[in-house]
Symmetry: C3
Subunit: 342 residues, 3 copies
Amino acid sequence: MKTKTLAELAEYVGGRVVGNPNLKISSAATLEGAENGEISFLANRKYLKLLRTTKAAAVVVQEELESPAALLVADDPYYAFTQIVVLLHGHRKHKKFGISAKASIAESAALGKDVHIHDFVTINENVRLGDRCILYPGVFIGPDAEVGDDCVLYPNVVIYDRCKVGNRVIIHANATVGEDGFGFATHDGVHHKIPHIGRAIIEDDVELGAACAIERGTLDDTVVSKGSKLGDAVVIGHGTRVGPHCLLVPQVGVAGSTTLGHHCVAAGQVGISGHLHIGNRVTMAAQSGVANNLADGAVVFGSPAFDANKAKRAYSLIKYLPETVKGVRKLAKRVSALENGR
Amino acid sequence: MKTKTLAELAEYVGGRVVGNPNLKISSAATLEGAENGEISFLANRKYLKLLRTTKAAAVVVQEELESPAALLVADDPYYAFTQIVVLLHGHRKHKKFGISAKASIAESAALGKDVHIHDFVTINENVRLGDRCILYPGVFIGPDAEVGDDCVLYPNVVIYDRCKVGNRVIIHANATVGEDGFGFATHDGVHHKIPHIGRAIIEDDVELGAACAIERGTLDDTVVSKGSKLGDAVVIGHGTRVGPHCLLVPQVGVAGSTTLGHHCVAAGQVGISGHLHIGNRVTMAAQSGVANNLADGAVVFGSPAFDANKAKRAYSLIKYLPETVKGVRKLAKRVSALENGR
Amino acid sequence: MKTKTLAELAEYVGGRVVGNPNLKISSAATLEGAENGEISFLANRKYLKLLRTTKAAAVVVQEELESPAALLVADDPYYAFTQIVVLLHGHRKHKKFGISAKASIAESAALGKDVHIHDFVTINENVRLGDRCILYPGVFIGPDAEVGDDCVLYPNVVIYDRCKVGNRVIIHANATVGEDGFGFATHDGVHHKIPHIGRAIIEDDVELGAACAIERGTLDDTVVSKGSKLGDAVVIGHGTRVGPHCLLVPQVGVAGSTTLGHHCVAAGQVGISGHLHIGNRVTMAAQSGVANNLADGAVVFGSPAFDANKAKRAYSLIKYLPETVKGVRKLAKRVSALENGR
């Protein structure tokens, strides 16, 4: 941890100070948990009350608000705060290990400079590994696979043969990239496995959560495009293309041969069917089941999913179904009675 | 396996025998599968028919019922039966292995007494490991992490740096504790990773299923409190607190910064949104999507979830939507006709 | 890759050629991605347009259709195509490794002929491993477990003690077989673990996806029957029996003590409750929540699930709930007015 003055932090993030610029800040915390010398943030007005009672030394905010803390006003407070956390705390420091003698590395593998390969790692034939990669114990990189520069593969990550991982990719523990997709030809009641000759390609700056599974393509490649972030236990089907800068929250599943545009967001447990075209900047609310193509900018909810504004209203009315169903039946009788002149 | 008389078992669990107390019992089985010398249980009257045809020597029941088997009557038959299974069969016996020379253990790690550390285990710098722990192959314990006494970590369990695991914790294969949470500040369309300076804390007597993923906190800690049991593939978001003695069944997902009280039950595939307060003794039926705070004792179903009694009735009426929607339209015409004097 | 003439391929799959039988075919591709010398397939008339513009040399089809490519007409085009992909590309070739000196193999383990056991594999006491098995790094086979002939266990697959895996079984990376089920007896607010004395049994020709978790049975065995295929992150509860030749797509969850017949299909994220009887050839649409027994041949959708034809219509009408609920209330007023003679 470093210590900075509030003024230094404000300059670093392009914000301005309201209060004492000489406050010394050494770490970051929540509004509720912050203590002396700590900085916090307010990104949502829902937490205004906490701003008024926080013990933080300073708070990053979007506008001047009442608080016992000094303020650092920034246009995008969460981004400014993130920059400050990186400055003060840094990202995880990985042990500088060199190449362990207890790792199994094929002679034909080409390793970059300054790589750190832990014990019990397996690197197969013809693997190409970029510079400054960190491979934790139990990582497996299959034959002919490629991993770019500055990647971090946490323990027990498995990259199947021929798959390709870009630069600055982070893959969390127990995740799998490039397993065979769920592809079988059923004939006379028996399911015959189709060889998966496609690959899984993880582009630059992607992060994959723990226990993710990215199927390789049957014929085409499966692609997770640059800058996309996938949460824990996300499953991507064979031949699917996740566009750039998407956010797929934990437990999302996307079936095969579907295309997602850029900047799509799928909240927890969303399921997306196969062979669909999802446009750019599409937002899918939690647990939605997406069964149809979606246009750019669509915001959906429900299973099957439709326009979220309408869907949230409609789903909230399911609770009135008992009175509604009964109401229609009763009304039908009353109307019949009226029609028959009682 | 040990052999006990039915009288001994009854005494052990504080129950009473109806039938021959000298029956020798050596193992436990289901009502359908039981054979000579085996004991079974009836916890749900739905299976009364099986009680009448079972070949079990004895059955643990709550009250005297008709059966060809002898009866062991106990107030809480499933609990009594569980005690009997523990007595007769015991919990899994782990190989007494000592500390394998094929494990990688940092010099600065402090290991308790009588620990059993298998091959291919990695224990990093400054790890503190309690007494009598069993670490199966492929387990990884990150720098500065703590594990208490009498824990069992099955193969390929990963504990990230600085995380804390209590006493008598069981973690099943391929589960992950303390990976970075899904936290990004999006700025100009690019997702910037926020360092996760919080930890994941697993308290005493917790059990985590296979392929679970417990994110570490961004600023605060993520906590799974004492006595809670999580099924396979459960994902807990960053900064979330699961209270004591909760049951989270397989594939449940809880987003970040949510608090669950004690003795909550979430059935299969339940999703709980972030930043919520869920009270004590809350029950969430399978596949529910919890989007709002819930009071103590709430029982909910549906997505979005509401009172389960109402929700089960309401959801069961979705099948009448076609006739209901059409019914309203037809009635509207008939009422218009009446209003217009036909 | 091999090269075959189109005539040879047609003979191999029992189809007939329309066009030049002497075309040389060396690989398989999609209709969109295919180039010179490649063969593709059309299994769904939805993609007819692609058939007309494909650059494939030949296409496997069910009937004669307009295309610039030569045609290979076969009764079951996807099955024929699968056979051709196997012929041209083959299944994954595994490194012939023999038995690594870096694997840990108990003396009492019985290994078949021509097995290939990678580094960092653990094979425990009394394991029986069949002929020609391939065990990738990080695989763990617990004491007294059995694995049949011709199995492939990808990296970090964990088979718990006493479990049984049949012949020709494929298990993808980071999957777990035979962990303890989610079984606890709750007494005075504390959850007591019941020992799981059952096993998990994976029969012949099963394939399990990455990060799957198959719980062992409490008293009975959990069974995945012959020929069934499970996608990534599928969880099977304790004591459940998945019948032969089922397809359980990624993220499906089946709770405990449920029986599925043969040839059932569960699409993505389906959840099936415990203690149910699901018949043969039952199809469950994506995200369905199955809460009741289902008869042979049932096709269901929804949560709770019911007949899919009705359910798809009914769920599609949820969007009309606002006008319907409001409509009933308005009609009630208008009918009251009519009843009161205005």
